[in-house]
Subunit: 471 residues, 2 copies
């Protein structure tokens, strides 16, 4: 059964795709796949954005393969869409104009680990867990941890972060250099292994977060961190979301180098209790982790405990045993699934915004009120040390009235974040889902600059078109 044609595609586009597919088949043999199921797996499968499959999926094994694929596509003006693990949330991997999906599954080697320099070089298909398993015995780790076991290429492309970002930064801070295949088929290196440089334009940071629209990442040099001597975790309940947020602000301001500080609202705690068999009090809760020396983490956690008490929170409950700690953070990582269990059969639409931390309590409080007034179910959890929080909107995709209420809620959430000098997304990216908010967030001059940059590096508009900005 044929799939529905992408809406904006002409007969010529279809013919061009066929030409490229024939050439790819000749070159890549069974590393080119055109079956419907595989194509659908390579398009968006999360949230409510429709699945828009590519015309074919190809599995490159090296940078040179990618260059050949891009050159073939460029010759026929066929879109090129990079694919890691398919866990992005805003339709970043969809093919609204058809095209070729490049699946980096086979480019999954750790090419070098320079433990002395605290960096490593990897192919884009390596996932974060795979990397950390390979690093462990060298005393170093890669700290960025989105919910999914995402590929590092995809993580760089979406400028993702996670629970450790408050201490270790986001992908922007942890990518030292990239190898990138540009729309013209040339491969460029964006930087060298030096820890800092002021040599010319920061191509690395321009590519990080560009979601495959400026080029395809084929190699990453990543910063690593030393595995801390001591790790301490704990949970701390608060009477209100405000109190939890204020404790977070004080913690950051006091210079306590907290490694993780995660807010779960009462509803999310209830979900986690039920899903992960915990017995936490069902009230706003901070999950915390401290990294350092034994003496250091003891001091950090004591300082935090005092702050929490001052704000009416506590008791701060320690997970001193490694297995309790793992259980706690596993529950945090399973929060998405826990949320879904609140309403079996519903779809969870995950979204995120980020605001200056001083506005966080207000933003979360107003959002909770809005959820209630919209008669929707949406637990909240957040990387509150960064002012970043998530909603898991549990919806029945077939209920039109509910969906209309949900969409309005999401728009008000973004408006609220922007009104507080925040951003429409702290870590999920723009993809297709949030393109409409960019003008409000940046204003026309910045948006025009983004379009100019896109045209400069991708004049034919073949690199993941229809994402971030439209030409």
């Amino acid at each position: 059964m044929a799939l529905v044609e992408p809406p904006d595609r002409t007969k010529e586009d279809r013919k061009a795709a066929d030409t490229v597919i024939a050439a790819l088949a000749a070159r890549f043999g069974n590393r080119l796949v055109t079956s419907r199921s595989v194509r659908e797996q390579h398009a968006n499968t999360t949230t409510w954005i429709a699945n828009e499959p590519p015309d074919a999926v190809v599995f490159p094994q090296c940078t040179d393969d990618v260059q050949q694929i891009v050159r073939l596509c460029a010759a026929e003006r066929v879109p090129v869409i990079a694919f890691g693990t398919g866990t992005s949330l805003e339709g970043q991997i969809n093919a609204p104009r058809g095209g070729i999906s490049l699946d980096f599954h086979d480019m999954n080697r750790v090419l070098a680990v320079h433990a002395e320099d605290l960096d490593c070089v990897v192919e884009p298909g390596v996932t974060r867990k795979q990397l950390n398993e390979q690093l462990r015995d060298q005393g170093v780790f890669f700290p960025i941890d989105p919910g999914a076991d995402a590929s590092l290429g995809g993580m760089a492309a979406t400028r993702c972060s996670g629970t450790n970002a408050v201490r270790y930064g986001t992908m922007k801070d942890n990518v030292l250099a990239l190898k990138v295949v540009l729309a013209n088929g040339e491969a460029m290196s964006t930087a060298r292994r030096a820890k800092k440089s002021s040599a010319g334009y920061d191509l690395t940071r321009l590519l990080v977060g560009s979601e495959g629209t400026l080029g395809v990442i084929t190699e990453l040099t990543l910063r690593l961190a030393g595995i801390p001597e001591a790790v301490a975790s704990g949970v701390c309940p608060f009477p209100t979301v405000d109190a939890a947020c204020n404790a977070t602000i004080l913690t950051i301001q006091s210079g306590i180098p907290v490694a993780r500080i995660e807010l779960l609202d009462a509803l999310q705690v209830r979900a986690c209790n039920s899903y992960s068999k915990l017995a936490l009090p069902e009230m706003p809760m901070l999950f915390l982790e401290f990294h350092g020396t034994d003496a250091g983490v003891a001091e950090q956690s004591q300082c935090f405990g005092e702050i929490a008490q001052e704000l009416g929170g506590g008791p701060f409950d320690w997970a001193t045993r490694a297995e309790d700690r793992s259980r706690l953070w596993q529950a945090r990582h399973d929060a998405y699934w826990a949320a879904r269990s609140l309403r079996p059969g519903a779809q969870a639409v995950a979204t995120d915004v980020c605001v200056p931390i001083s506005r966080l309590a207000e933003c979360v409080r107003e959002t909770q009120r809005d959820i209630e007034q919209s008669r929707l179910l949406a637990p909240i959890l957040g990387h509150v040390g960064d002012g970043n929080f998530h909603l898991s909107l549990l919806v029945d995709l077939t209920d039109e009235d509910e969906m209309a209420r949900a969409k309005l809620l999401l728009e008000r959430l973004v408006d609220r974040a922007l009104a507080m000098d925040g951003t429409c997304t702290g870590e999920h990216g723009i993809g297709q889902g949030k393109m409409k908010y960019l003008a409000a967030e940046y204003g026309e001059p910045a948006l025009a600059a983004m379009r100019a940059l896109k045209r400069a590096l991708d004049p034919l508009d073949i690199m993941n078109p229809g994402k971030i900005v439209s030409l």
Copy 2:
């Protein structure tokens, strides 16, 4: 007396400049200056790069002024060169094709301090010391400290860093958002105040380090850090540069969050002893600083002391009193002047490279040997936690033979850094002085991408032309 005309300028160019100057005079009155001395002060006055003055200097007072100036210049295709304090080292403020220098001296207000969010908003003419004086009573500080008391606009434009970068990062990590006037006269905001965002292309990081070639910065939102509860400083001698570098590597790898770790070679120590009236042993020396709690800095310094001892260094000498600490760091900040005092009357040509830290010892050692074999005098000091080091080459600009040797030495220094996967500049930038090294550092595809970006945002090539890349 008329100045020499810029070499590439035609009669039409001169006429265009006159047209702009007349319009600026009408609009800005005595805020437009065309005297020779002021023009010369607004061009390069450091190192051996020739002074190439602009046609006029104008003192804007707000973003709207800058927009008007840029529009007038764009209409006549006259270059626009932003000027902070004139302390850049690679000719960044020169006007090789003439043009209008925008001196931000009068845009020196701190517009807002958000201590809760650890950020502030400033105009580009604010200097780092001025900012820290205004922040002090709010318990926060801005950590980036290049040698000079530079303007924050200039510091962002050159992606500078300094002694605190090993802990607090460089300008790339500490600029949250910029307001920038583009070549078309539009003012764009590159980001909002949220601590992180994955919304579209990272315009902030693209502008940081672009040296005024993509736009003129008229406002900066900066990250701040909390003033640490305790600060401890000390000095530690080592038998060799290698031992000092290895101690640095181990310190970083052990996760000791050192705030400053600075190498001075024996010659630089001698210079500082003489200039700053210190009595340090004249051997390779690390200057260190630790930030944290009382217990934290005590623990950090104990750990460092053990590492130093293990590598044959020490004794690690504490400066417990604040005045001893200030004296030490003042001596470090005066290292440039101390170096000059080694050869009165000589010019100090300051340069820097940055390599992966594992290669640092080798790079410094080979450079010392090269200096000796070149019969030149050049003390070395470095931000070794980042693998970044400086040479102060003491030369007689009128001695042709010596200058020839010096130039070859500098070229070999860059070649050496690049061969070690390093960069031709860790913090001084490209300007005019290091343009010739970009192709070797990045390769042609990346350089072509940089040119494409420049053309995209500045199609008329009026924004600080002749710096970083030539169109």
